[in-house]
């Protein structure tokens, strides 16, 4: 009898330990990314305020930006293994769209780095991500101030349109350049009998945004009324 209670005791402690480790890991992850994006925002704002034109914003913050945005790939893994409660497919779609714009559109085409839509897009991304990661981090320890919840569920109303416009404008702006340089495009004849027209691919990709934005926006609006209503009620409960 002593042995069995000891072994079940060990089992309970193991799963509790796993739960705690997951929390600590996620807390670390979310805090690191919130800091990373804060660095990007700081660099972007600094460059904008000191320089005359937006040409060097991307150059200055691109290292922190690339690291922070690429690390988001981990979130797909988190969703896939059940560490977080999101759908892996939704997470994948969101992360891949940012990575496509960052690595396949913006980074390879230096001619467009100075266009004004670039810092606009980067700053929109920064604000959205900083709020999001702080919200996740504080949720893990149950200490989310109402103001942060309000920001998380209200900022999207302007950040989504601004961010998406920035992304679409950036993609659109590289089209004439890549048509001339043939970036990432493949033409016949070749050993694998395949051709790839990158400009046309990007145009189809842009068209793909059209059904998504209204759906995502509506979903966030619904979440907003649900979460802000709940947070207000929780706040009142705590006050009483």
């Amino acid at each position: 009898a002593v042995v069995s209670t000891q072994s079940t005791g060990k089992q309970i402690n193991l799963s509790k330990l796993q739960g705690m480790l997951s929390k600590v890991y996620l807390l670390l992850y979310n805090c690191c990314l919130a800091c990373g994006w804060s660095i990007v925002l700081y660099q972007a704002v600094l460059e904008l305020s000191t320089a005359q034109n937006p040409t060097y914003v991307y150059e200055r913050c691109k290292v922190a930006l690339k690291i922070s945005q690429t690390l988001a790939l981990l979130e797909i893994l988190h969703a896939a293994i059940g560490l977080v409660r999101s759908s892996p497919m939704t997470t994948f779609i969101q992360v891949q769209s940012r990575l496509v714009v960052l690595w396949l559109v913006l980074d390879p085409v230096s001619e467009v780095h100075g266009y004004s839509n670039v810092p606009m897009m980067i700053i929109a991304w920064c604000i959205a991500e900083i709020v999001r990661y702080w919200y996740y981090a504080l949720s893990l320890v149950d200490k989310v101030p109402y103001l942060l919840t309000w920001c998380r569920y209200s900022f999207f109303t302007f950040l989504y349109p601004i961010g998406v416009s920035g992304e679409l404008l950036t993609i659109y702006s590289i089209l004439p350049i890549i048509t001339a340089t043939g970036l990432f495009s493949l033409s016949l004849p070749n050993k694998w009998n395949v051709s790839f027209n990158y400009p046309i691919f990007l145009m189809l990709y842009m068209a793909g945004y059209v059904p998504y934005l209204p759906k995502l926006y509506m979903h966030m609006l619904k979440q907003r009324s649900k979460m802000l209503g709940k947070a207000a009620a929780d706040g009142e409960k705590k006050a009483n």
């Binding site: 016949l188 050993k191 694998w192 009998n193 395949v194 051709s195």
Partner: protein, 291 residues
């Protein structure tokens, strides 16, 4: 949805088939293949021709739950629609090269053989659907038709566009040509042998399922190793075709098709194991010894 018969009382000697006829009289848009009944919402649908009297908990006033599966389409119909696309698309790109590419040179031997391979595969499928296959379900939801046709017609267009292109490049090594063709033929013969074997395992007009076993055809020996050797052979065919034509979209088709077939094989394998207690243990779903 609950349905109470307004007009006639249900007698215990009647079956679900009779119920369906009564139901259709009141709701003429329905037809038997889209209708199922359940005793409770949590259980599976009642099999065809269940007698009401055989239902254990049934008595006067018991409720039967009805589910409308939506518009249905016959499996054969779907298969024909799916296979017409590849045949039509490939022959169009092969025969109308002058119009489509402005091609002035004739096709090479490899392009000719590739056409025979591709079109031949789908002609074989049409013939099998007409004379060999025995389906366990009569219909499937009509949404599948559009999804499946997009897949087949779409891929066929890409594949045939590139293979019949005047700038087509055949594979670099002769070995690839013979290896590809040989693998394709091996796969086609194996796949056909399995289809014949399946046909003989199920008597005409019935929907019975048995544990698949090899027959006298050596190709069917693969049944010892996998539940769905027909899929195994088909994936081999497409791999052979991709090697023979050295075409990216053909390779992609082999991968995507293979992945889909693997999913189906895993499902069928699971069903076999559930249905038959004595299902052979060493067998895998589609890939011998592996999965």
């Amino acid at each position: 949805a609950r349905w109470f018969s307004d007009s006639e009382a249900v007698v215990s000697t009647q079956s679900t088939g009779d119920l369906k006829k009564m139901h259709i009289k009141e709701k003429p848009y329905l037809y038997p293949t889209r209708m199922t009944y359940k005793v409770s919402l949590k259980e599976k649908a009642l099999p065809e021709e269940t007698k009401i009297g055989d239902l254990d908990t049934f008595c006067d006033g018991s409720v039967l739950y009805f589910k409308d599966l939506g518009p249905q389409i016959g499996w054969s119909t779907v298969f024909f629609a799916e296979y017409i696309g590849p045949i039509f698309a490939y022959l169009t790109f092969y025969l109308a090269r002058g119009y489509i590419y402005g091609a002035t040179t004739p096709t090479t031997t490899i392009q000719n053989i590739a056409c025979a391979m591709y079109v031949g595969h789908y002609v074989k499928r049409v013939l099998e659907t007409m004379f060999i296959h025995r389906f366990s379900k009569a219909t499937m939801p009509i949404g599948n038709l559009f999804k499946n046709c997009t897949y087949y017609w779409g891929f066929s267009s890409f594949i045939s566009y590139f293979i019949n292109h005047p700038l087509y490049t055949p594979p670099g090594c002769n070995l690839c040509v013979y290896l590809g063709l040989g693998t394709y033929l091996f796969g086609e013969l194996g796949n056909f042998s399995c289809h014949i074997a399946f046909m003989n395992m199920r008597p005409a007009g019935s929907r019975t399922r048995v544990i698949p076993m090899p027959d006298s055809n050596p190709f069917t020996l693969l049944f010892h190793l996998v539940s769905c050797p027909n899929y195994t052979y088909e994936v081999l065919s497409w791999i052979g075709f991709a090697i023979f034509t050295s075409t990216f979209y053909a390779a992609l088709f082999a991968i995507v098709g293979g992945g889909q077939m693997l999913q189906w094989a895993l499902g069928k394998h699971r069903n076999y194991k559930k249905e038959f207690e004595k299902y052979p243990r060493g067998r895998k779903a589609m890939i011998p010894f592996i999965l």
